[in-house]
Every structure is written in structure tokens, then in C-alpha cells.
């Protein structure tokens, strides 16, 4: 079973926050550091199937949640995953006061800037966590 760091976003469907989380995770696992990170489908984790529980329990996880409901973090914890770090988009957006990043369907230029910059920061943590393994 892979010990890559699992980056799990909430992908919330109703607001831009979920899309920001999703795009950050995809950028990290597909572009910035695919050699040390991977993602899993959160909906699969929510099913509670043994197969995904086994996978989520191998290696450490970073969760990225859109809002204080913390769906990704709670679902990963319920599946027995070890969460090394929890990120919240609402906190990230405090660094971009007044930002209008787009909507739940599509990001605009401002949204992509937030994704690119924050994904780099989270990826640095991914690499540190992988290095500690």
C-alpha cells in the first residue's frame, strides 16, 4: 500500500470554497509533487468501504476543507486515517481580503492565483510530512 501523503479536499459543491479546495489538491497531486502525494475520492471514503479504509490508513493525510464543517477532516478521521494537517479555505481567504475567486463551477483569475499560491504552500508541507515517514 502506498505511503504517499494523501491530500483530501472536500470538493464542496455549493460554494467556491469547495472548488478552491479541490483545485488545490489536484494541483498538488497532479503537478507539484505527484511523486510523494496522491488523492483519493472523498465520496469513496464516505461509503466506509473496507478497501478505501485500508488505503486511507496507509501513510498520512492532509485535508483541505472549504468551510468550518470540516467534512474532509471528519470523514478521513472516521475512516481511521491519520491527519497530519488540516487546512481550511476560510482561513486562506483571510489572507486575500475582499477576494472574489469565482463560483462553485469556475474560478476566475483571482481564484487561480489563490489556488496556485496556496497549493505551493501546502505542497511544501506534503514534502516535509513525506520526509518524516
Amino acid at each position: 500500500m502506498s505511503n504517499k501523503v494523501k491530500v483530501i479536499p472536500c470538493s464542496g459543491i455549493g460554494k467556491v470554497h469547495g472548488l478552491l479546495a479541490r483545485e488545490m489538491a489536484l494541483k498538488i497531486v497532479n503537478e507539484i509533487c505527484p511523486e510523494v502525494s496522491q488523492t483519493e475520492c472523498l465520496a469513496y471514503i464516505v461509503t466506509g468501504d473496507q478497501d478505501i479504509r485500508d488505503r486511507i490508513q496507509s501513510g498520512k493525510c492532509i485535508t483541505i476543507d472549504g468551510c468550518p464543517k470540516m467534512c474532509a477532516a471528519k470523514s478521513v478521521a472516521q475512516a481511521g486515517g491519520i491527519i497530519a494537517q488540516e487546512f481550511r479555505i476560510v482561513d486562506t481567504l483571510k489572507e486575500y481580503r475582499g477576494a472574489k475567486p469565482g463560483n462553485a463551477t469556475a474560478l476566475n483569475e483571482e481564484g487561480w492565483k489563490i489556488v496556485d499560491e496556496t497549493a505551493e504552500k501546502i505542497a511544501a508541507n506534503v514534502k516535509d510530512i513525506y520526509g518524516e515517514e
Binding site: 472548488l19 479541490r22 483545485e23 465520496a43 464516505v46 474532509a72
Partner: protein
């Protein structure tokens, strides 16, 4: 008669293209095709939320939109919320091999991907209208 609202829940899977398409198609229904007549919920709120969230599939006739044959949205909804009224499965529409490709950032979507999302949205619309026309009310 009070118009019914129909729930649309996508798996939004992060690990394969089918999940990306499921999310895009669901957003299309919610935002344009059946705007005002459709409602959704973040699927993991069935774990992280409260009684109100878990009551979603009891409150609305619900269509789940899944990226692949694992049917995570359907199974999670039925396990944690209630029986779904209909299902749409992306791989049935765009092919298993395509649906299992790597999940795409919305930045890298091509016209071909948008066409896939349109096809899936049309399938959702057909099932959606069937529910409304059947005057199905939970």
C-alpha cells in the same frame, strides 16, 4: 400544487475523470438547466453534518450522479440519508476507460470534456423531468 424540488448529489470524485464530469454536470443542472427547481448538498455532510443534512434524501426525491461503477454517491446516500429515486453513472455514458482517466483540473478542460458533461447533464435532466412529471413527492 406545490412544485417539487429534486435533489442532485454528485460524487465529485477527485481520483478519476468521471468524478470531474459528475461534478460539472451536476453544477450545470443546479446553475442553469433546472435552476431554482433543483437542490444539492455536499455529500460528506452526511458524516460531518447533523440530522437536517442526513434527512436530505427523505426530504427530496434525489438523483445521485456517480463517476464510475463504484456508485459512491448512491451508496453513501442510501447508507447515511435515504433511498435515492434515480441514478446517473458517468462511465455508462462516456465509457469506462475514459471515466477512469486521471481527474482533471477545471483549468485543463477541453471542448471534448465539456461535451461529456453536457451529455451527462442531459441524462440527469431526463431523469429529473421524469420525477417532476410523475409528480413524485416524498
Amino acid at each position: 400544487m406545490e412544485p417539487i424540488k429534486v435533489g442532485v448529489i454528485s460524487c465529485s470524485g477527485e481520483d478519476c475523470l468521471g468524478g470531474t464530469i459528475s461534478r460539472l454536470a451536476a453544477r450545470k443542472i443546479l446553475e442553469r438547466i433546472r435552476y431554482g427547481e433543483s437542490v444539492t448538498i455536499c455529500l460528506p455532510l452526511f458524516i460531518a453534518g447533523g440530522e437536517e443534512e442526513r434527512g436530505f434524501a427523505e426530504a427530496y426525491p434525489t438523483i445521485t450522479v456517480d463517476g464510475c461503477g463504484k456508485y459512491c454517491a448512491k451508496r453513501a446516500t442510501e447508507k447515511l440519508s435515504g433511498k435515492v429515486t434515480d441514478v446517473v453513472q458517468v462511465a455508462d455514458i462516456i465509457g469506462k476507460e475514459t471515466a477512469e482517466r486521471t481527474a482533471l483540473s477545471s483549468r485543463n478542460l477541453t471542448p471534448e470534456h465539456r461535451e461529456m458533461a453536457d451529455k451527462v447533464a442531459e441524462e440527469i435532466r431526463i431523469k429529473f423531468d421524469r420525477i417532476v412529471e410523475g409528480n413524485f413527492k416524498k
